[in-house]
Symmetry: C2
Subunit: 162 residues, 2 copies
DNA sequence: GACTATTCGTTGAGGTTTCAACTATTGCCA
DNA sequence: TGGCAATAGTTGAAACCTCAACGAATAGTC
């Protein structure tokens, strides 16, 4: 009793997959080439730069960036080795680690930001009307709400194997 | 002279990033758990299943799936080892390789499809109105057109390092 | 036919992500 | 306080992707 996709949905789904793939790839390359940063790491630096004292618990940073703990931990090691962040003991919880953006890290972010923003604008916002921009936001928010109300752990279709 | 994002654009951009991330992750996990297939490989099997004789040149398969040659080649090795596809010599071009979906591969796809479709429907289409579905398609198509008209190789912002 | 450029697909190295396992610490509750 | 679950973060192995380089075949040109 599978509810298959209609033709209209099928077309929308494929267009969505294609568009998100192309956009992500283009932004990835732009960032990588112009500043040597993967988009994932750029995100981390952005979050830190917006935090008070440019500092966050690994925990909060992971949640803010939608990263797994493990992924963030590996990424942090790399960013630390590059001198862009540093790790500090957390004074209130001895399990905790604080990640702080260094001056070098901030400089790297400042150097990367204009090109990245320009790319986002050129590839995403320029071709959209103002109405489409707010439609995109509404659609995105609806999906966010839906996915969060349906945690991944529970599984979506436990019968698929049967 | 960077054209920074407006607040409205900023919000749309972050919502977009968040939504695409959550959705991709949820679908990835669902597929992985229910059928052991990464979404990337699922895509490959789908393309093959739709082709005449369930068979495509590596070339065409790469283009259809938006994969790099290298990525597809690695993926094909893996899928071949799993017994889901097989490689055949191309009769008309001795450089070529044909990838053909095996019966086992088709069976794996048939087993995975209902759960995956159900997840796509549940997480993406159920929370959207019909209007939003066509908006999503229009937005996606606009972005596709834009990105393709602006090839990655040329670079988006050669001045970002300055 | 030889020369060159292009295309096809693969390979290996290196970087990133996931997964499962692990230690250390905190929170809860009797 | 002692016991136990939950949380914070790290680690190593395996999977996956990217990049650059490569060998092989084809296409275009003279």
């Amino acid at each position: 009793m599978t509810r298959w996709l209609t033709d209209e949905e099928q077309r929308a789904w494929r267009a969505y997959l294609h568009a998100t793939h192309l956009l992500a790839e283009a932004l990835e390359r732009q960032l990588q080439r112009d500043s040597g940063l993967p988009h994932a790491y750029y995100e981390i630096l952005v979050r830190l730069s917006e935090a008070p004292d440019r500092m966050l618990r690994m925990n909060e940073l992971a949640d803010a960036s939608q990263y797994s703990r493990s992924r963030l931990s590996h990424a942090a090691s790399r960013l630390e080795a590059a001198g862009w962040i540093e790790r500090l003991e957390c004074p209130t919880d001895r399990r905790g680690q604080l990640a702080r953006l260094t001056d070098d890290g901030f400089a790297a972010l400042e150097a990367a930001a204009p090109g990245h923003v320009e790319a986002v604008r050129t590839l995403l916002f320029d071709p959209l009307s103002p109405e489409q921009v707010s439609q995109l936001r509404a659609i995105s928010e609806a999906v966010i709400a839906r996915v969060q109300q349906w945690p991944v752990e529970r599984g979506v279709s436990p019968t698929a194997a049967g």
